[in-house]
């Protein structure tokens, strides 16, 4: 039998598109875990929350899911800032973030998931938009719009964030707080305020990621759990706190998962992320593009 080269190329391209979506999912963790050292394991729960809000608005008013995601950015920013304030007062200030801070986020993850189950049940929900069905076709390569659009917007989002972190004062301050909080305080910038802004941004990205998720696949409350392993694998693989690293990690995981799903069946795909995570932790804990 010939090696199915067309299938392989399609799998790789589908993987790159999937990787683009993973960028949006992971970039929030790259900021909170990579830069602020806050192990926000509840991030996927915020993404699912975003998906459900998009679903509600989309199914009642018929507004485009991506547009809803963008409109929700400020709402999620405020939510993130509020969560950080609670986290700071309850754990960081008392120096208990290692054990109790983790338990706190785990509790939030759990409450969100069970809360959504209580309100919406475990049925799959999906959004509607004109671009969810059709696909671009070049020769034998399929580019479904529902994958292409999230991928392109994710890349734009990442580019915007990269500019923000390297050009603006607050962006640079966020990078500074990840390196030396005390030095930043000596420069007369309030590290807590900077971290609050950064965490707000990190949760805001979850709104957009949630909109993409509900475009790409039907969503039910426990879907978020599958993403926990993925986001941290990507984040660690790329190198903590490095946005270009996030792109590399996300694309790599997307391609490998897509190839695995194509040739061995989709039920094996979740194991890939974990394999990556363990291998990275064992051989290069600093990640591919890490310092």
């Amino acid at each position: 039998m010939d090696f199915p080269i067309e299938l392989l190329i399609n799998a790789i391209i589908a993987g790159i598109l999937l990787g683009g979506f993973y960028i949006a999912v992971t970039v929030g963790i790259s900021i909170s875990f990579g830069m602020l050292d806050i192990v926000n394991i509840a991030h996927p729960a915020f993404i699912i929350l975003g998906s459900y809000l998009v679903y509600i608005v989309n199914s009642t008013f018929g507004i485009d899911p991506v547009l809803v995601g963008i409109l929700m950015l400020p709402v999620f920013y405020v939510l993130g800032a509020a969560v950080y304030q609670v986290y700071y007062l309850s754990f960081e200030k008392r120096g208990q973030e290692a054990l109790r801070g983790l338990a706190f986020f785990f509790g939030i993850l759990f409450i969100t998931e069970v809360g959504l189950i209580l309100v919406f049940g475990v049925d799959y929900r999906y959004a509607e938009a004109p671009y969810i069905g059709p696909a671009l076709r070049f020769a034998f390569v399929d580019l479904p719009y529902r994958m292409l659009i999230p991928c392109v917007i994710s890349l734009l989002l990442l580019a915007a964030l990269q500019l923000y972190f390297s050009r603006t004062f607050i962006g640079r301050a966020i990078k500074a707080v990840s390196q030396d909080q005390q030095a930043l305080a000596l420069m007369a910038a309030n590290p807590i305020k900077i971290k609050r802004i950064a965490f707000g941004i990190s949760i805001a990205t979850a709104a957009l990621a949630g909109a993409f998720l509900v475009i790409i696949q039907p969503v039910e409350p426990s879907v978020g759990r599958e993403y926990i392993g993925r986001v941290f694998a990507i984040c660690v693989l790329g190198g903590l706190g490095s946005l270009p690293g996030t792109v590399v990690g996300a694309m790599l995981l997307g391609v490998v998962e897509s190839i695995t799903a194509t040739f061995y069946g989709p039920s094996w795909a979740p194991a890939v992320a974990f394999g990556f995570l363990l291998l990275t932790l064992a051989f290069r804990p600093a990640g591919l593009l890490g310092r």
Binding site: F33, V39, I41, V86, S90, F91, R94, Q96, A98, L99, R100, L102, A103, F104, F106, G107, I108, F110, I111, E113, V114, G115, I117, L118, S222, R225, E226, I228, G229, F232, A233, V236, S267, W268, P270, A271, A273, F274, G275, L277, L278, L281, A282, P285
Partner: protein, 318 residues
């Protein structure tokens, strides 16, 4: 209290519990009691690593399910009595815990937590794809109605209850022995300041690996009789998030620094959940656990035990 005295006291307490159940003679009590005792074991096991060393394990469900699926495997190949299954399940989970710990415990603490979270997802994927133990369809484990123990025929559920009671006593005694030993003091130094402990010559990695192995093994042992209890095991019930969240919430709510915290937390939350499942719904009782967990870590970081200690200290000062 000396450890030997403590052992005797715990056995007497267990016998009292047993006598009480005999007096009531209601089968439901054994079903509910089994679950509560199972949580006592899980909470105590979690606390050996989480409470004593300060390393968070989110994968309790994975270790529990490993034990349960080891039993299913042996049920299909060569049937052996449950006490031996518990031993084997403990060994399997202990080894997995050791391996996980070896890969991740040399790094920052949060990596271990993340890896345990991912472990649950991956093990579930493996089980779903492994047809021999039922795959995603699940596996039936038919248990006999009665079993001969010491020449007496007792109902099977009572037998399972008895085993879990013994395991709970064993887990609590282990936790208390560790707490008072050199090992326990070593664990405490890791929790309080790992860098300083390392500098003072405490072999931190070795101690952390010991804690992970013991903790994982106890969780596996708690999972081993589970297929016989439930009768039908499927991946989503064995890997349920409820185990992971309860194993964390119970010690956190009871208090993490001593053996009694997880015990109080497990008895309290376990009983509340049994009541809530019957009277309200099982989704609501999980919500209660989640809300209590968040409330306690924010308001009472040292749990119920911490609250009582605070009260006592305030009284002394007056």
């Amino acid at each position: 209290m000396r450890s030997r005295v403590f052992l005797i006291v715990s056995i007497v307490a267990a016998l009292l519990v047993l006598a009480l159940t005999q007096a009531v003679a209601n089968n439901y009590l054994f079903f509910a009691g089994y679950v509560v005792l199972q949580f006592v074991v899980l909470a105590t096991a979690w606390n050996i690593l989480g409470g004593y060393c300060g390393y968070v394990n989110f994968g309790s469900a994975a270790f529990f399910a490993l034990g349960a699926y080891t039993s299913v495997f042996f049920h299909k190949t060569y049937q052996i009595p449950i006490p031996f299954l518990m031993l084997i399940g403990g060994i399997v989970s202990g080894i997995v815990g050791l391996g996980m710990g070896y890969l991740t415990l040399r790094l920052r603490g949060s990596f271990f937590a993340i890896a345990t979270l991912a472990l649950a997802v991956v093990l579930q994927t493996l089980i779903i794809n492994w047809d021999y133990v039922g795959g995603s369809r699940g596996a039936y484990v038919i248990r006999p109605n009665t079993i001969q123990v010491l020449g007496m025929a007792i109902p099977y559920i009572e037998y399972l209850f008895l085993l879990m009671l013994l395991l709970a006593v064993a887990a609590i005694v282990t936790a208390r022995v560790i707490e008072r030993s050199r090992l326990g003091y070593g664990f405490a130094t890791i929790r309080d300041d790992e860098l300083a402990a390392e500098a003072a010559g405490v072999p931190t990695l070795r101690l952390k690996l010991i804690a992970t192995t013991i903790s994982g093994a106890l969780m596996g042992m708690a999972g081993a009789p589970f297929p016989y209890y439930i009768g039908y095991l499927e991946p989503s019930s064995a890997f349920g998030l409820a185990y992971a969240v309860n194993a964390i919430a119970m010690p956190m709510i009871g208090g993490t620094s001593t053996w009694i915290g997880p015990l109080i937390g497990a008895l309290l939350l376990g009983t509340i959940q049994q009541v809530a499942t019957v009277t309200i719904s099982s989704a609501v009782n999980l919500l209660i656990v989640g809300v209590l967990l968040v409330a306690f870590v924010i308001i009472a970081p040292n749990g119920l035990v911490g609250l009582v200690q605070q009260r006592l200290r305030a009284k002394e000062q007056r």
